[in-house]
């Protein structure tokens, strides 16, 4: 596996608030492969955005990365642990501005309302390269053209409020890609857009990824987006990766009860109309009251069905459940029972769901 770009090990990002510590990211381990698209999915508040911000170290106090390693493979053999750099150091700023880039959910809010889009693109380019003002402007216009903005030579001097939502998101993508990053992190890039624009933006990201050969980490709670763009999927719940694997495996053979729940809760067009949508019972626990043991045990139907007592007090490890698939669930690794394989445990559970 020397095609890795990022290796995240046991990453912990906590928020130290007056009322207590919120463990937004609590022991995430994840591999991101070069040139691929990884989707991170989960409910609001599961820590997916904070995890992405931790990679760039743009988590600000009271949030703090308290542990783990984020190894960045600049080239095969040239590996740095990004957490060795100080948050505000020159090296970290160069990484987050030049080698990586992030696009945000609300393009209107993430672009400065009082600066032209051109000036914000040029700023990034000039900060990380020796380009002159004139060269930078020319490159900005070219990039705006590339992301499909009509009349880029005029639009470069437009303010965000003069552009439509889709155009703004294109401008933000242009800004992100102006330094040709190896890693693009897209935090819900289509959530604020209407459906037709969503498809265009996803197509644009995919096309630019092919042209520039970059790796994409896309954060979303929309499984439709995942199906459209991702090669791999990591499912997050309460600050942990509960399942990780190729997109087909996750969609067709989900191994973690939470993933199954997510997939069941998608409305399907062929379903009986007016039937109640199968939602995951309960709500995400309060951030100050994280359950002990497996974080999902309070909402897990399969725990009740299988009457697993273990889940309530001991957290399960991430277990290999397929060739490239991992899940964090005691169903797949009963303690002291090495004989029971992953597939075994999964099938009865699936059967039960099928019978419901």
């Amino acid at each position: 596996m020397n095609d890795l770009l990022l290796e995240i090990e046991d990453l912990k990002t906590h928020f130290f608030l007056d009322d207590g510590v919120v463990k937004a990211v609590d022991g995430v381990s994840l591999q991101v492969r070069r040139g691929r698209t990884l989707a991170i999915v989960g409910e609001s508040g599961c820590g997916k955005s904070i995890m992405a911000r931790s990679i760039l170290q743009i988590v600000t106090p009271p949030g703090k990365i308290v542990g783990g390693r984020i190894c960045y493979h600049r080239a095969p053999g040239d590996v740095v642990n990004l957490l060795d750099y100080q948050r505000k150091s020159r090296e970290m700023r160069a990484f987050r501005g030049r080698e990586a880039a992030m696009i945000f959910q609300e393009p209107m809010a993430a672009l400065s309302p009082v600066h032209t889009i051109g000036s914000q693109i040029v700023e990034r380019l000039r900060l990380h390269s020796g380009a002159s003002r004139r060269e930078a402007r020319a490159l900005a216009v070219e990039m705006l053209h590339r992301v499909g903005i009509p009349h880029p030579a005029q639009r470069v001097d437009a303010y965000p409020h003069q552009l439509s939502g889709g155009m703004r998101q294109r401008a933000m993508i242009a800004m992100a890609l102006i330094c040709r990053p190896a890693l693009l992190i897209a935090d819900e890039p289509t959530t604020a857009l209407d459906v037709t624009t969503q498809a265009q933006i996803l197509e644009l990201i995919r096309q630019l990824q092919a042209e520039l050969g970059m790796t994409v980490v896309i954060i979303t709670h929309d499984l439709g987006v995942v199906a459209e763009i991702a090669d791999e999927v990591a499912v997050m719940y309460l600050g942990q990766i509960v399942e990780h694997g190729p997109v087909d495996a996750i969609f067709h053979h989900p191994q973690h009860p939470y993933t199954r729940g997510l997939l069941r809760s998608i409305p399907r067009i062929e379903d009986v109309t007016r039937a109640r949508l199968d939602a995951i019972p309960g709500a995400v626990p309060h951030p100050y009251a994280r359950p002990g043991g497996c974080p999902f045990h309070t909402r897990c139907r399969e725990r009740i069905i299988h009457q697993l007592e273990l889940c309530t007090h001991t957290a399960p490890p991430l277990t290999r459940v397929g060739p490239l698939q991992q899940a964090r669930c005691w169903l797949h690794e009963p303690p002291g029972d090495g004989q029971r394989g992953a597939g075994h445990a999964a099938e009865p559970a699936l059967a039960i769901i099928g019978g419901q």
Partner: protein
């Protein structure tokens, strides 16, 4: 942008007309006028010359006419640069106002510069170091500044400058420069005296603006566009100065309009304590003695200053924030 400015300047004219009308009307509201008391005194003294003089004045300024005729005479005079005659000072109003307005304007300008130079860095510092010792220190100084009455601070500073620096206190000039023509030495003397009123008048505004800027900046500091700028690899200071501070400055700029009239009317007590040759005390006297042309011209100039201030701040705002321009 140009059409926006032209439009704003055109609004300026009817506003001024309306203000001048209203102020003149209000000045006329109390019964009697300056000439009435002047005549009463002349009668008591049996001074025939003064009585004739009073009649002349009454005739000349149309004081026996209704107020709107008086207004019209006065306003048309103003347009040609004749602000009327101060009965109390027995001088043309323009001569009386010229010097004082210049000094008032100078004081206002110096105070604004002082306020901004202190408030902006302190406000940014307090916001960026929120809830730290430094923030508390700045806030403490700010609250003390807000809570201290200006006249008290004026007295304390006068005492300090007299006791420790052996300077003449009060006024804007040393006695030897009081009526001297303008020269480099006189300007230097002015600067030596100017700091006390600037600090006294500016403290309140500074404290207020620190609070405003801190609060505004705290609203902006965690906006997504700041995070986006951070993700581009800018240093903290650079991205703060370029993005959120720029947005948080809007209320400062809109406040310019209030600065000029505020300094003149609000600083009156300070000016009296410090015996400054500025506009405030003169206006107070003119109003007390019903010296109507002086008072009217004064308030008219004040109105021009406030409307001008609003105009300047509107244009600056449009320049600073493109969203306003395109509305």
């Amino acid at each position: 942008m140009t059409s926006y400015i032209i439009r704003r300047v055109l609004y300026f004219i009817p506003t001024l007309l309306a203000i001048s009308l209203v102020t003149f009307f209000i000045i006329q509201l109390p019964p009697g006028d300056f000439i009435t008391s002047f005549e009463a005194r002349a009668l008591a003294n049996g001074d025939q010359a003064d009585l004739e003089r009073a009649a002349q004045l009454r005739e000349r300024y149309g004081l026996d006419q209704p107020w709107y005729v008086q207004y019209w005479r006065w306003f048309t005079g103003v347009l040609t640069g004749d602000f009327g005659y101060s009965f109390q000072w027995k001088q043309p109003v323009s001569a009386l106002l010229g010097q004082r307005m210049l000094l008032t304007f100078l004081l206002a300008l110096a105070t604004t510069v002082f306020v901004w130079a202190v408030a902006i860095p302190m406000g940014i510092f307090a916001a960026m170091r929120k809830n730290t010792l430094g923030d508390y220190a700045v806030s403490f100084v700010g609250f003390v500044g807000l809570a201290t009455p200006d006249f008290l601070l004026a007295l304390v500073l006068m005492w300090i400058s007299f006791f420790y620096f052996d300077m003449s206190v009060g006024g804007l000039f040393s006695p030897e420069f009081e009526n001297a023509p303008w020269s480099l030495a006189r300007v230097w003397d002015l600067l030596g005296h100017l700091w006390i009123p600037v600090v006294v008048i500016g403290t309140n505004g500074t404290a207020g603006l620190i609070r405003i800027l801190r609060a505004n900046l705290l609203d902006e500091l965690h906006k997504p566009y700041v995070e986006a700028a951070r993700s581009r690899g800018l240093t903290e200071w650079r991205l703060t100065a370029k993005y959120p501070v720029r947005v948080a400055l809007n209320p400062f700029v809109s406040g310019i309009g209030d600065t000029l009239p505020g300094l003149i009317s609000g600083a009156t007590i300070t000016s009296i304590v410090l015996s400054l040759p500025t506009a405030g005390p003169l206006l107070l006297q003119a109003l007390l003695s019903q010296d109507m042309y002086l008072a009217g011209s004064y308030i008219f100039l004040l109105s021009i200053l406030s409307v001008l201030g609003v105009l300047i701040s509107d244009i600056l705002l449009a320049w600073l924030d493109p969203r306003i321009r395109y509305q």
